[in-house]
């Protein structure tokens, strides 16, 4: 830590994203952490960086982030989008009227629409699953067919981060922390106990923010009563592996 001037603090502030991502070298990290001790301001920046990362991942999972076009194509596409949107609105309105549905403007409930989520969002349930589960026979997730949510979001913490060369270590060569997901893609399958039939399989997905997975099971109430294995598999071009297994129970009552 050379000096405690404002310029040095600014220099460290620029390193915040790399620090949170674990991309600093050993010496850079030592310097940065000495600054963290000295500067509550820098600590607040780090906290916000983590919140920002988590918030973006969460907003993306919820479908709240619009992936805009690149700046060069924005102006070009805008007219088409406006035209398409106007046509769609017109078509839907005509369809609504012809089917005799109440006009949206006459329905007080529809006047208070929420900006980002459809109304059934309260029927969604998010479950975070730890990487290590107990050996007890109690299920990790349980619900009855009647109280099943419309959507079950499963977020297993199973992505192991490795060093660039694929090795698993607490600290990689050069002092960096591991940051490469062990597998580029993961999938989740639901296998019924007893007959080992496959009840559901997710699309494969790459971890968001390096280690976050989120699988959406729609209408879990439609599952038959019984116990299911929730199996998370990691996939690479050469290899696949079951990286975690959980127990889900669907009860009749």
């Amino acid at each position: 830590m050379k000096s405690l001037d404002h310029e040095s603090l600014e220099e460290q502030t620029r390193l915040v994203p790399r620090y949170v991502a674990g991309d600093l070298s050993r010496s850079e990290r030592a310097e940065f952490e000495a600054w963290l001790i000295a500067s509550p301001e820098l600590a607040a920046e780090v906290e916000m960086e983590r919140r920002l990362r988590r918030g973006i991942a969460s907003a993306a999972r919820r479908g709240w982030l619009k992936r805009g076009a690149t700046p060069a194509t924005i102006g070009r596409d805008r007219r088409w989008r406006v035209a398409l949107a106007a046509s769609l609105v017109l078509a839907l309105t005509t369809l609504g009227l012809s089917l005799g549905l109440p006009h949206p403007g006459n329905n007080p409930a529809s006047a208070t629409t929420e900006p980002r989520e459809p109304r059934q969002r309260s029927a969604s349930r998010t479950v975070r699953l730890a990487s290590v589960r107990g050996v007890a026979t109690l299920p990790d997730i349980a619900f009855t067919q009647a109280d099943a949510p419309a959507k079950l979001v499963l977020e297993p913490d199973v992505v192991v981060l490795t060093c660039e060369d694929g090795s698993m270590a607490l600290e990689c060569p050069g002092g960096a922390v591991p940051y490469t997901p062990q597998y580029p893609e993961y999938e989740l399958a639901l296998v019924k106990h007893g007959d080992s039939s496959l009840a559901w399989r997710s699309e494969r997905q790459a971890p968001v923010s390096r280690n976050q997975l989120s699988f959406e099971l729609r209408d879990p109430g439609a599952l038959e009563v019984g116990d299911y294995d929730l199996i998370v598999r990691g996939h690479s071009p050469e290899h696949e592996e079951v990286v975690a297994r959980y127990l889900l129970r669907v009860a009749a009552q």
Partner: protein, 222 residues
């Protein structure tokens, strides 16, 4: 969040190094958020209890300050950071060794601990945070800034490639990120202040208790 500046903390530590007992207490209060930050944000955060190790770190730091083997406040900062890091590494090693033991009770305990660690934010907090970030991105002045945030954080795009593609200088890129963090802080302080960084009551009480214990042990005959 404490509003103590870097210069003020440096002055406090310098006074503690000169043997001022009141400054020592103030030093513990001032260093605590930083030590906690190193432990919470550091490489081994998921395997440790940051509160516990903060206590241990400050204990070692104050012993060292009392021993007068450090003469420069900046060295105290570096020493505190290195101590916190080493304690975290040791705790992580211990934890990982334990994970290989086939002991159902222990595994259950580990599972619970990991669950607690993950549950740092409740569902409702997570939703509020996601909403705050989505609003923040909507509010960004240009589509280019939105692209910077989304592609850097969500797609893990390389900073230099992104700069080249969007015609940005690295400094401008850093400014976009800094402004985003600052704006996010404003939004969450307004809507969900508990998600911002706040000193807990223990942040005040613990250093006072630690300092008191030291003074009694070293200088206070009962």
């Amino acid at each position: 969040m404490s509003s103590v500046s870097v210069e003020e903390i440096e002055r406090i530590v310098a006074a503690a190094l000169s043997g001022d007992p009141q400054a020592e207490t103030r030093m513990l209060v001032a260093l605590r958020p930083g030590v906690l930050a190193v432990l919470r944000f550091g490489a081994f955060n998921r395997w440790i209890d940051p509160e516990d190790l903060t206590q241990e770190t400050l204990h070692i730091v104050v012993e060292r300050v009392r021993a007068r083997t450090i003469d420069d406040p900046r060295k105290v900062f570096a020493f505190a950071a290195a101590t916190a890091r080493n304690l975290a590494l040791n705790a992580a090693r211990k934890m990982l060794r334990q994970q290989t033991v086939v002991d159902s009770g222990l595994i259950d305990e580990l599972a619970q601990n990991l669950e607690m660690e993950q549950g740092e934010l409740s569902d409702s907090d997570d939703r509020q945070l996601a909403q705050a970030v989505a609003d923040l991105i909507d509010e960004l002045p240009t589509e280019r800034d939105r692209q910077v945030i989304i592609r850097f954080y969500l797609d893990a795009a390389d900073k230099h490639e992104l700069c080249r593609e969007l015609g940005l200088s690295p400094k401008h890129f850093d400014r976009v990120l800094m402004r985003a963090r600052s704006r996010l802080r404003t939004i969450i302080e307004r809507r969900a202040p508990h998600l911002a960084l706040f000193p807990r009551i223990t942040a005040i009480l613990f250093p006072l208790a630690l300092s008191f214990t030291f003074w009694v042990r070293h200088f206070g005959p009962w």
